[in-house]
Symmetry: C2
Subunit: 185 residues, 2 copies
Amino acid sequence: MTKIHLERELTTLEFVVLGFISVEPQSGYSIISTLETGVHRWSASPGAIYPILKRLEQLGLIEGELEIPNEARARKMYQLSQQGAAMLDEWLLAPLTNRELLEERDITLLKFLFAENRLSKTQVIAWLKAYQEGTAHYKAAREAFFDVTIAQATPHQRLIWEATLMDIQMQERWIEKALAQFGGD
Amino acid sequence: MTKIHLERELTTLEFVVLGFISVEPQSGYSIISTLETGVHRWSASPGAIYPILKRLEQLGLIEGELEIPNEARARKMYQLSQQGAAMLDEWLLAPLTNRELLEERDITLLKFLFAENRLSKTQVIAWLKAYQEGTAHYKAAREAFFDVTIAQATPHQRLIWEATLMDIQMQERWIEKALAQFGGD
DNA sequence: ATCGTCATGTAACGTGTTACATGATTGT
DNA sequence: ACAATCATGTAACACGTTACATGACGAT
């Protein structure tokens, strides 16, 4: 697994596009449709997707090919290159950031989705355990913070704190469920 | 309650700034500190906050005043104007969007936080009930979507669907808890 | 014949990020 | 004396949004 190095980091949306192409070859249009109907928050306007496709191709992470140049409607289908696959794997295996841990859970779940095609069963279990550990860490930090602030908290603030806690607990239960299914632990 | 009309919509971050000022008068620096330590996802760089403060003041939604111009460190404290208060209330009372309902829960919770100072108990209960209804609606739509797609779903896709469902259920439980506390129903 | 969908793309724009600059005050 | 914190601000940049343009194909 050679580590790919580019002059700049890819944006989250670029990684997401890379991810969907990894599931199966995609055209700009199909990515837009997927993002609109799917389990995600991105609006995925053509003004974002088509330039991204062009950039990723220039970086050598994906390869585009015109499908049926004559006869039917021409559409450009993209598939991952080896470098693109390596780049995606790097992203999937990188430790989850604090943001991904609580606020950007949709991204975390997308990573989990892409992991199905890219990672081995062992790697998925390791990923889930890292997620579990990160969540525990985050939980402890949150609890420490609230322990000192809860005294002067207003009713609404307390409820928000409970919402945060319920959210973390739900994530913990989900991770356990997922681990149980994959025979981890 | 006169409805304020501006040529453009405020951005979410602008509303959030407005909200924090409504809790108590704030300086740019205090807003940045609050956002950094608090229960939210925004990084709140000075490059975002200071221009926003200037814009909101120009729109007449907040009023700035230099505190202790000499003697100690000068800082500009802002407080809501009547128009700003009306604007904020409009935002708080507007029906939650689909995005706020599931993906942008942090915004929903911030609205709930600001509601403590701005809305009456009756309004808060009504807000929670609207939230409850919106969630139920969303849940039904999601379930309908997954009912037709679950058949050919992969294990990871199924788990993501479960995560979504658990999320919705957690929100339902939280709303019930909040309603119980406010004597609604 | 026309409308909706499939399909790709561009241009203008605005918002927030990153990085920097500045300076006063407080703590060690 | 020096570092950290308080405090405000600006400039360059990049990303994604909105809106538009274009055109072929299939259905009614």
